[in-house]
């Protein structure tokens, strides 16, 4: 095989593997159920939420989390609440923080899972951001 052709084809297939597959952050069924119970049929837009969480959390009992948005607050457009969702925790909905512009806290995680941060605006829009966190020690029992 021509070296150039080989590089081109393998390059594309590797890129394809990285794009699709199990790393997709589409919420699983039970998470969708929790979202639906809490927010109804409102759509979640992937934008504006900025959250810091370590990619590797050695101790699932204490996972630091920091949430904020890049929306400049005005009297008629501000964040009403932040919500934290962990896909594989016994309690999927971990916490809600209402009335603050940013929040710094610690949560527990049972195992490696997506963590979803949702910012609910006063006008009803929902912004979401998801990050996968690798957990070594189970913090939930």
């Amino acid at each position: 095989m021509d070296r150039r052709v080989f590089l081109a084809t393998t390059g594309y297939s590797v890129a394809g593997l990285m794009l699709g597959g199990p790393d997709d952050d589409e919420p699983p069924e039970e998470v969708k159920r929790v979202l639906k119970a809490r927010f109804g049929n409102r759509t979640l837009t992937k934008a504006h939420v900025q959250f810091d969480i370590p990619e590797n959390a050695p101790d699932g009992r204490f996972v630091p989390i920091f949430l904020e948005t890049d929306v400049t607050p005005t009297p008629d457009h501000y964040v009403r609440a932040f919500h934290v969702i962990v896909d594989h925790n016994p309690d999927i909905y971990v916490a809600g923080f209402q009335g603050v512009a940013s929040i710094d806290s610690k949560i527990k995680m049972r195992r490696t899972s997506y963590v979803r941060a949702i910012a609910e605006m006063n006008t009803g829009e929902l912004y979401v951001s998801a990050k996968k966190v690798f957990v070594t020690l189970n913090g939930c029992g």
Binding site: G99, V100, S102, I103, S105, G141
Partner: protein, 108 residues
């Protein structure tokens, strides 16, 4: 230290109009109900599920927690200091325990 010991921390120097960071810490086991003791007895769920923050006579924030928040929970949040008034944080747990802590916000 025992369950319910709490502290609310403000920065040492505050000016009118500053955005300050308030830190609220409470001593609480936050048991999930899934763990067992060394003897195999299940530890019942015991956690804080409701936190509210008041600035003066106005309630400014309300947090809804589950047992998924870490032991001895601490939160840090911004607050715009617009007047001299006490900041009160109230924690409530699932067994009816209510814990208060107040700190006076003074300009200096």
């Amino acid at each position: 230290m025992a369950t319910g010991d709490a502290r609310v921390l403000l920065p040492p120097s505050i000016k009118n109009g500053d955005v300050i960071y308030v830190r609220a810490i409470i001593e609480h086991p936050m048991d999930t109900g899934f763990f067992r003791t060394a003897e195999g007895q299940p530890i019942p769920a015991f956690f804080i599920n409701d936190v509210s923050v008041a600035y003066g006579d106005q309630q400014i924030a309300h947090f809804e927690w589950t047992s998924g928040v870490s032991r001895d929970p601490s939160v840090t949040f911004p607050l715009k200091a617009t007047r001299e008034a006490p900041v009160t944080v109230t924690w409530k747990d699932n067994k009816g325990g209510v814990y208060h802590q107040t700190v006076d916000l003074r300009f200096s």
